[in-house]
């Protein structure tokens, strides 16, 4: 890491420390009700207790398996649909604005419909997350393959590249950065949709536990779950970024 990078990392840690410190002092001073904001210590011990229970890992399992299933459906569906749309100029002209338009509708409004169709179990959250994440994946696939720089294709053609070679060595790597942006946005949306869906209507999962803890006035448990989700999300994000960097391996400043 270079100097500027190290400096940025230090500032990032400082912001985190400031937030954690602020949280500690506000609760220690006793200005805020424990029911609204418990101390970091209480949340920490609750979380440690929670992760030793079987029901905790059951809930985590349900939620993450739902997210994974929803994401796989969204990625496969979005890439296949998006790529097929780009194969025809007419289809692109007709469908790209439609997909972009649909994506601006807050699909949260349709969550009750998903519950009606798929029931209160994980299936409705999977369908909801998959539907929502489908759009950014499909739209970015269209952007990646449909608005591809013609000059690269012409250069490859002039070198006598076959169709497969053009796809493998030109289209795919050229489209990759835009494609990955779609996968990333899709993942964030998928994660938020499944968890959000669970908080609103569910009998199991992390979101259900968060909603339940709030209803039952158990702030320690509530914040412990939130902390767990936060830690997981940050870890996943770091993981995805490092995978991205490994694949792209483009060393640019």
């Amino acid at each position: 890491m270079d100097r500027a990078g190290a400096q940025a990392r230090i500032i990032q840690l400082a912001i985190f420390a400031l937030a954690a410190g602020g949280w500690y002092f506000v609760t220690a001073a006793g200005g805020v009700s424990r029911l609204l904001l418990p101390s970091p210590g209480e949340v920490g011990t609750t979380l440690l207790r929670l992760i030793q229970t079987k029901s905790f890992w059951n809930s985590v399992g349900v939620t993450f398996s739902s997210i994974l299933q929803a994401y796989v459906i969204a990625v496969v569906g979005g890439i296949v649909a998006g790529y097929l749309v780009t194969r025809s100029k007419t289809a692109m002209g007709v469908l790209e604005p439609v997909l972009a338009g649909l994506f601006t509708i807050p699909l949260t409004l349709l969550l009750p419909l998903f519950i009606l169709f798929f029931g209160i179990g994980p299936a409705s959250k999977i369908a909801y997350g998959a539907t929502y994440a489908f759009f950014p994946v499909a739209l970015n696939t269209i952007a990646a393959f449909g608005h591809f720089d013609e000059r690269w294709l012409r250069a490859a053609q002039s070198m006598g590249a076959s169709r497969w070679q053009t796809f493998r060595h030109i289209l795919l790597p050229g489209a990759f950065p835009v494609l990955v942006t779609g996968l990333r946005i899709g993942f964030v949306i998928c994660f938020a949709s499944v968890l959000g869906g669970e908080t609103i209507a569910s009998a199991v999962g992390i979101g259900h536990n968060i909603a339940l803890s709030a209803e039952q006035m158990e702030p320690g448990r509530l914040y412990a779950w939130i902390a767990f989700v936060t830690i997981t999300a940050v870890t996943l994000n770091l993981l995805i970024t490092s995978i991205e960097n490994t694949i792209v391996r483009r060393d640019r400043k």
Partner: protein, 278 residues
């Protein structure tokens, strides 16, 4: 140059007409109208003309990137039927056609792989071409780690490494600043003298055309035809002093006088709503 036998002809363009879209359709465009041109082996020919006059279209047809509406093209006696003759012809486009996801050396390898050349030759040929343009120490860099002038050097070398007798260059220096353009033009002139390649070069820069060419084919506004051919009798490699000679300015002015009406015609067509869109 004196009388030419058919064996001296590298590229023979015969009555090429190119129409985009169906004839009679509202969006139909006649890009080229009955263009014929013979290019001798080892000759440097510039196609000079207003934007949209079909200069690049001629290059694409000669290079086999697409088939003309009518007419034939022979490259070293072989007819081009809309398939690139990659053993005879290499293209050089603008530097932005280097593939940014590959390093410099990988860009060369892929160009040779696409042509079906043996993998054992790739690196030797690549390094040889990179040395010729003074870029050998940048083989492991990615294109966007290089300046735009360095990228165009690499890009020219990518066209040279396959050692085809013919090089088609489509406004390769259009994105460069004038100074870089001049230096690369000089290098190109030297390179030409060293390799004896036949080069067809599309440009809209008057000075570039005069400095580089043996012959300049000045084109009309759309539909493109060849208006006049101007001979530039000056041996390669050319020194920058050539640009200071009165003859250089005369030729440049002559080109401009020929082009001026065509540029006005192009602009008028753009303004006229009934005319052809640019």
């Amino acid at each position: 140059m004196s009388a030419t036998s058919p064996n001296d002809i590298a590229i023979s363009i015969r009555n090429i007409t190119q129409r985009f879209g169906e004839e009679g359709a509202p969006d139909s465009v006649l890009a080229l109208d009955d263009v014929s041109l013979d290019i001798r082996k080892g000759e440097f020919v510039c196609l000079l003309g207003p934007s949209g006059c079909g200069k690049s279209t001629i290059l694409n047809i000669v290079g086999g990137l697409f088939r003309p509406t009518s007419g034939t093209t022979l490259v070293e006696g072989r007819s081009v039927e809309g398939t690139p003759h990659t053993d005879q012809i290499a293209f050089v486009f603008q530097e932005s056609t280097l593939f940014p996801w590959y390093t410099v050396i990988e860009n060369f390898r892929i160009a040779m792989k696409f042509r079906g050349m043996a993998a054992s030759e790739w690196d030797d040929r690549a390094m040889k071409a990179l040395k010729a343009v003074g870029m050998a120490s940048f083989a492991r860099h990615y294109p966007d780690q290089l300046s735009v002038g360095m990228r165009q050097r690499v890009n020219m070398a990518r066209g040279i490494c396959v050692e085809t007798p013919i090089l088609l260059m489509d406004e390769p220096f259009a994105a460069l600043d004038e100074q870089t353009r001049m230096v690369l033009g000089e290098d190109l002139s030297q390179l030409l003298a060293a390799t004896g390649k036949t080069i067809v070069f599309v440009t809209h820069s008057l000075a570039e055309a005069v400095f580089l060419s043996d012959r300049i084919a000045v084109m009309t506004a759309r539909p493109g035809k060849i208006k006049t051919i101007i001979d530039v009798n000056e041996a390669h490699p050319r020194s920058p002093d050539f640009m200071l000679e009165p003859r250089f300015s005369e030729l440049r002015n002559q080109c401009y006088a020929l082009l001026r009406d065509e540029i006005r015609a192009t602009m008028a067509a753009q303004r006229d709503p009934a005319g052809v869109e640019a």
